[in-house]
């Protein structure tokens, strides 16, 4: 099975993140950039499927030059190769345009199965799997907590607010995964060394056949008008329990009309 895993480089969610003041895009320059955490689960799932059924695992990233670091990190877990769509014209692209570029690249790669994280930690928008599936005319099974592959038949178990549902489709398909699906492996030393030699193909916009006017700020379908830091919350009253902590807590709740 030919599996492509979508990987996004994001600013570390454990650190302070901001938008740039000059063009309102995510500030990646001053951030510690990492693989989107949920994508590691997608990579793990791809590797497990390959181990059970054979095939090839390709990492696909759209992002600036520095996304190379995340691609090498992804490869160190075990995928065979990577494709990096990189082009200065892509800076400022909206989700709709991003899905156009990724779908075009996927069309060239001819994947049986596209795996990705259910959301990224920067945007948390969750739209990419369905946008890509809509463009490719394939099924999208999203938010998988369990994925079973039997030949071309895919079965996904996904959490819903009322319980869970079981959804089926045939390849080709896009499947997004939650972090409940598996436990991603740590790259071994051997894996890290091997990743340095694995092929990383770079593709420009022209290579994937998308016009510069369709992406970036020119092609954006939405725009940030302004942004500001939310004033940080300041801690209120803090007491130490000396036997009456529970009562005092309820007194506070009562003063705020919650009790």
């Amino acid at each position: 099975m030919n599996i492509v895993v979508l990987v996004k480089q994001v600013p570390d969610s454990g650190a302070d993140r901001s938008l740039r003041s000059d063009d309102n895009t995510v500030d990646r320059g001053s951030a510690n950039n990492v693989i989107n955490e949920m994508d590691e689960y997608a990579i793990e799932e791809a590797l497990k499927i390959k181990e059970a059924h054979g095939g090839e695992v390709t990492v696909l990233t759209m992002g600036p030059d520095r996304a190379t670091e995340s691609i090498r990190k992804a490869l160190s877990m075990g995928p065979d190769k990577a494709v990096h769509v990189v082009d200065d014209a892509l800076h400022g692209s909206c989700a709709v345009a991003t899905s156009k570029v990724l779908a075009a690249a996927l069309g060239q790669l001819g994947a049986d199965l596209v795996l990705c994280g259910a959301e990224s930690t920067d945007g948390r928008v969750q739209v990419m799997p369905h946008m890509i599936a809509e463009r490719l005319g394939v099924a999208a099974l999203t938010g998988a907590r369990k994925l079973t592959v039997d030949g071309s038949a895919l079965t996904v178990e996904r959490q819903t607010e009322e319980g869970y549902e079981v959804v089926t489709a045939s390849t080709p398909a896009v499947v997004s995964v939650w972090d409940t699906i598996n436990e991603p492996r740590y790259p071994s030393f051997k894996g890290i060394m091997a990743a340095k030699k694995k092929p990383v193909q770079t593709l420009s916009l022209a290579d994937v056949g998308v016009a510069p006017a369709e992406v970036g700020f020119d092609g954006a379908t939405s725009a940030v008008v302004e942004h500001s830091k939310r004033p940080p919350r300041s801690g209120g009253e803090k007491i130490t329990d000396e036997g009456e902590g529970g009562v005092k807590l309820v007194e506070f709740l009562a003063s705020e009309k919650f009790v």
């Binding site: 709709v96 940030v224 529970g246 309820v250």
Partner: protein
């Protein structure tokens, strides 16, 4: 005034969700609200009373196995056809997984911009969003097409405004491509009478400090006394104390209730990502240096196994 389409979010168990009422309230500021019900046979009939109560002037319904038996693709096709026909001023969906997914497909079908996790929408289409774990406020606009936005639950107070909507059944003409992802089984899990996590006005969450799954009864007890939902930190979920669907924070749910009660939660940034826009936050933790106290309007440093039962007793006394 132009129609504003509100794609209804409802559950089998509780009917119309609060976020739908919020969207209808918001839609009234922008135009004439029309509710769009996408579900099983008879769904619109069951929901029309509530939708009318909150100002839906019209209800469009697409019902049946063709809609309900698959993941979101058929629903997106129906809404896209409706948008082309009625040319609404805006389309509002819930910022839930399904709402975002329908919106995603609509954006591609209509070649239209999309804004998610919107907490406010002005008449000129300027949306307010909260980004980066609640630390950044963004004003953004759709610059291509109509405002297509997903609204985050608990963004505004729903206000009733009685209307008596007529139901129009839509002709459903979905393609084979829309039916590639088939739902073969839906399993309801016991959740009792507690409100849904993202919609609840009170959320009581437990963290690693709760210690084990059995002790979560304490968290549930406080939640029930306050009429709230139960949440859990990632540490608690990863330790197997509470199921994943109740996880609050990064890789879990984002909540924005009137009151958030954090019990035995240290307040790692990944947890704060999911709760720091809550109106009032209180915390109980034995570590006086826990970062949760930086957010808490009221904090108790102490043993939660002493403080929480005493608080429960005090609430009962006052009832």
């Amino acid at each position: 005034m132009s129609e504003v389409l509100v794609v209804v979010e409802a559950t089998r168990e509780f009917g119309v969700k609060k976020v739908t009422l919020e969207m209808l309230t918001l839609a009234r500021e922008l135009g004439t609200p029309s509710a769009v019900v996408l579900g099983g046979a008879g769904a619109a009939e069951a929901l029309s009373g509530k939708l009318g109560e909150y100002g839906a002037e019209k209800i469009y319904a697409a019902e049946g196995e063709e809609i309900d038996g698959y993941l979101v693709a058929p629903k997106a096709t129906v809404v896209a056809d409706l948008v082309a026909r009625v040319q609404p001023a805006a389309v509002l969906l819930a910022s839930s997984q399904e709402g975002k997914e329908i919106a995603a497909r609509l954006a591609v079908k209509l070649d239209n911009g999309i804004l998610t996790d919107v907490v406010g929408l002005a008449a000129d289409g300027t949306a307010t969003q909260v980004a980066f774990a609640g630390s950044t406020i963004v004003k953004a606009k759709v610059t291509k097409g109509l405002p297509l936005v997903t609204v985050r639950p608990n963004s505004l107070n729903p206000a009733p405004a009685a209307a008596s909507p007529a139901v129009e059944q839509l002709t459903v003409s979905v393609t084979d491509t829309d039916k590639l992802a088939k739902v073969v089984e839906r399993v309801a899990e016991q959740k009792g009478s507690r409100p849904e996590l993202t919609e609840a006005s009170v959320v009581v969450s437990g963290g690693r400090g709760v210690g084990n799954a059995d002790n979560f009864k304490l968290v549930e007890e406080i939640a029930d006394l306050l009429g709230g939902a139960v949440g859990a930190s990632r540490a608690a979920v990863d330790s197997g104390y509470y199921p994943h669907q109740f996880q609050v924070g990064q890789t879990g749910k984002t909540v924005s209730p009137q009151l958030y009660v954090a019990l035995g939660i240290s307040g790692a940034i990944q947890h704060r990502a999911g709760m720091q826009t809550s109106k009032t936050i209180v915390a109980v933790n034995k570590d006086a240096e826990a970062p949760i106290f930086e957010l808490a309007d009221y904090g108790v440093v102490g043993d939660l196994f002493k403080v929480v039962p005493q608080a429960a007793e005090e609430i009962r006394k006052r009832k």
